[in-house]
């Protein structure tokens, strides 16, 4: 057992695989709306009438089929909480370390729905005053999804 004491040998392996995940009927519809029409669309639960976001076939609260009542979330909302990144970190959503220059925020849309997105303002002092915000959409290169919105910009009232 002492033979390999000076050299601990490892087997190296790099996985070159790519994945293509189906978005499905409901999120696929929402993604198509951001891509083609620059609109955030959720579906309204047939029972509790709340907007389900991201859209799903079953309401997580009522456990009933949500149905096909699609509703726009709108572009304006109010910042409930925000934070900003100080160091680049692992982002579990993309599997690599990266810095987010734009602060992350939780926004209550005027339609009542909560979403998570970024803020345009990057100055920590000015951020304290950012309350009302509006989505700034990408004009080019929209692929479907929340990244079709660049960030949320501060607006008056």
């Amino acid at each position: 057992m002492t033979d390999n004491a000076e050299e601990l040998i490892h087997v190296e392996y790099t996985q070159p695989w790519r994945y293509r995940w189906s978005t499905g009927k409901y999120i696929g519809k929402a993604y198509a709306e951001t891509k083609r029409n620059k609109r955030l669309m959720g579906n309204r639960c047939s029972k509790c009438q709340e907007i389900v976001w991201p859209p799903e076939p079953v309401c997580p609260r009522c456990k009933v089929p949500t149905g096909e009542k699609w509703v726009e979330l709108g572009d304006t909302g109010t910042v409930l909480q925000y934070t900003y990144q100080v160091m680049p970190m692992w982002d579990p959503h993309v599997g690599r370390a990266r810095a987010h220059p734009h602060p992350s925020a939780n926004i209550r849309m005027d339609s009542g729905c909560h979403i998570m997105h970024r803020l345009e303002e990057t100055d920590p002092e000015k951020l304290k005053k950012v309350k009302r915000v509006k989505a700034v959409w990408k004009e080019e290169g929209r692929q479907g999804g929340m990244d079709d919105i660049l960030y949320f910009r501060a607006i008056d009232g």
Partner: protein
């Protein structure tokens, strides 16, 4: 409920940031041998084996195959369990159900993780709903940060309180020979001077990536009474699931607050006659991803009123010497080999009940203890342990 089940063997490895000297099966085997030695048993006395980890972290599709000999599973029934962050408790749950159901009299549950050889980042990509999360551009850490900010605004807690949690954790970790990060911190100032990752969260507010394994031997009542002079009884286990990205739905700002913890705790307490948590339970080992969440977890588990978790910390109620000790082991913030982490919570709670926790043994006598597991996405598993049923 089925037959009574006890933990009669506890084994864990020394958790470290790197274990290049062993492969996964060899690492598992260290914990298995330790558990068998603790129970004064041989592997032939084990009837079924359950194993689990965060499987894709090491890039091995069926690790149970690889480790069949070293885990003791060769020629025996059992299965590999995958439940993300709660896996380490789910393996115990599976063993518990099998013994409680009378399918077998003894079972071995093993949770493990070998972070040092895997691609945790690539694996984490597939932990979030890939279709939804991939375009999101905000990580989990930011949500923890916003939770912390909201907690401060709502309750009056300050960054100092999070630092107190870290200091408490390190005090326990330094007394736990199995713990990974044993920093020897002496004041909250040291923590408050560590760099911000995401405002207001600091490097020292988070756990390390650890390597290691933990194994528990469970036995039916007649076998436990025959083989063990200090069985720790599993009074109950409960699992509650939650969905992800549901901000606002449960009156929860970020959609990441563990709603499942409150539901699980309320159910567990009700069916075990627990009406005053701090009177009826003596100690807890909780799964806290960061020191901030330790304080909110106190509230979710009804250890105190809402908004008062930080006060328990400030009053040192949850210290090793306190009236309601929490995470005497140093907790997850000191040691996080993800697949093993919930198993360690149960193991450490059981050691406290046995009085075998050495320097990290709580000052007060521990007869009843609660162990928690939290995993993506906010699933909760609770385990209630008792010295006698």
């Amino acid at each position: 409920m089925g037959n009574r089940v006890a933990i009669i063997g506890i084994g864990q490895t020394h958790f470290k940031s790197k274990r290049p000297d062993v492969n996964i099966p060899e690492m598992i085997n260290e914990a298995v041998r330790a558990a068998l030695a603790d129970a004064e048993m041989e592997i032939k006395g084990i009837e079924a084996v359950f194993t689990g980890n965060m499987e894709t972290f090491e890039g091995v599709c069926h690790p149970d195959h690889w480790m069949a000999v070293e885990s003791g599973a060769f020629g025996r029934p059992g299965m590999k369990v995958g439940a993300a962050g709660t896996t380490g408790a789910t393996v115990v749950d599976e063993a518990f159900h099998m013994v409680a159901a009378g399918v077998c009299d003894t079972a071995l549950a093993i949770g493990y993780q070998k972070h040092d050889q895997g691609n945790a980042t690539g694996a984490l990509t597939t932990c979030c709903t890939p279709v939804w999360g991939a375009g999101f551009a905000v990580g989990a850490m930011q949500e923890f940060a916003k939770q912390a900010l909201t907690y401060m605004e709502r309750t009056g807690a300050r960054e100092e309180h999070a630092a107190m949690v870290r200091l408490k954790a390190d005090y326990g970790a330094c007394r736990n020979p199995y713990a990974h990060l044993r920093l020897g911190l002496s004041s909250i100032d040291e923590i408050l001077q560590s760099a911000y990752l995401v405002w207001p969260l600091r490097i020292l507010d988070f756990c390390p990536q650890s390597n290691g394994a933990c194994a528990l031997i469970l036995a039916s009542e007649h076998v436990a009474n025959r083989l063990s002079n200090k069985p720790v009884w599993i009074a109950d286990m409960i699992t509650v699931h939650q969905t992800q990205f549901r901000a606002g739905i449960y009156e929860d700002l970020t959609g990441r607050d563990p709603y499942s913890q409150e539901v699980a705790a309320a159910r567990l307490y009700k069916r075990n006659g627990i009406t005053d948590v701090r009177r009826d339970i003596d100690l807890a080992e909780i799964y806290e991803p960061s020191n901030w969440q330790e304080m909110t977890t106190y509230e979710h588990l009804y250890f105190c009123e809402k908004g008062e978790g930080w006060k328990m910390v400030e009053k040192h109620m949850t210290d090793i010497e306190g009236e309601f000790p929490v995470n005497c082991s140093g907790g997850v913030i000191a040691t996080n080999a993800i697949g093993a982490t919930p198993t360690v919570r149960i193991a450490e709670a059981a050691l406290q009940i046995r009085g075998d926790a050495g320097e990290r043994q709580a000052t007060r006598d521990i007869k009843t203890a609660l162990a928690t597991a939290l995993g993506s996405t906010n699933w909760t598993i609770l385990t209630l342990l008792r010295r006698s049923l």
